[in-house]
Symmetry: C2
Amino acid sequence: MHYFYVLDISQPQITLSTEESEHCIRVMRHREGDIVRVTDGRGHLADFSVIEANPKKCILEIHKLIEENLPLRHRLHLAIAPTKNIDRMEWLVEKAVEIGVHHISFLLCDHSERSRVNMERMNRLAISALKQSQTSWLPIMQVLSFDEWLDNTSNMTADRFMAWCDDDNNRQLATEPFLHQDILLLIGPEGDFSPEEVAKARQLGYVEVKLGNRRLRTETAGLYGCLTVAMREITSPIPSTQE
Amino acid sequence: MHYFYVLDISQPQITLSTEESEHCIRVMRHREGDIVRVTDGRGHLADFSVIEANPKKCILEIHKLIEENLPLRHRLHLAIAPTKNIDRMEWLVEKAVEIGVHHISFLLCDHSERSRVNMERMNRLAISALKQSQTSWLPIMQVLSFDEWLDNTSNMTADRFMAWCDDDNNRQLATEPFLHQDILLLIGPEGDFSPEEVAKARQLGYVEVKLGNRRLRTETAGLYGCLTVAMREITSPIPSTQE
């Protein structure tokens, strides 16, 4: 069943965006009466029938609701310094959507190698990964400075982790208990966090963890974080505390 | 410290390949007396000093041996059907080297979308990932048919798994016990394994497992396998049986 994305599927009749209409009618050649699957990227899924096969403004009518996909038990908020080579961030976004991530923040750090990220392109990529992997959860994405991140998340009830390659540090994300539904994970640039950034994060209760025993590239570290959180609900028998 | 690759570092004096000499002398601008780090991709690491800074045929002399890097407790033999878009296999190789994999076989299956893989290019990629992530383990890679794989591995003492998206199947690789040092993991093409292939694998004791609860692309499934095996030694307290 072909899969499409709209902002809101709560209405009995919906109109696909120009891009999605084009994909549905021109590329997938759907006609009046065809049934397609639609998600809003917020866990809702429904089958709709094409009632107006307009390649610019395709209109769909509700056919039947699919039961809601539960999100991952833990919501990962990944805050990662964008790499110089943006392709590496693009594939991270694609993979993170496949595996499951709640929030991705591109973090501007003292040692960041890149200060601009084309969020329109990132969102298009995330939507196409959403459709490809037929999940129904689209991550919220933003670009912000290290300090803004700390401010924005300061009141969240969450487990806080910072990926940090200090040799004296033997704590591993994979073995840390997750006590809350929300997991905040900071991943620094190739040049790592500045001592000031590390000090600020420590003060706010961020726990320094390793992501395995190998030295990973920034984007691989990001994916490692996504998989660690996603695997937790398979490997840990008892659900953790939820707010 | 700059990192280079040679086939054999057991000699007190070694010569870098043309490619590595070029990288060492022209790109990194090393001169006589400089110390560089060298690996053979089989767990051996040593520091050498440049004694002849020839950009085509750079000669190095042993400075000091670095203690051997232990391999991952479990050796993953990943057998994966190459994707139509070879870039996806290329990044899998890069990431798998970073995270750790013992063996990668590109599997020609009944539903394979691609029957040729440029192994020379794949090996170059693996070596550059080895150098980038400064690990000292280079995976053995090959292309072979599904039946050849089964024949070649039939006498191995190993845990055998097949990634299989059957809805009735609730076994997860992440929670399966690993009883042996060697772990064989089969990952099929987008079109999945043929019923004949599944039957053959079952007969040889392959356990069907899921890789999480999401639908993953072939290359993401491969990386999921690598991370599951790599994480095991962090999360499982007691070492498993070793042959």
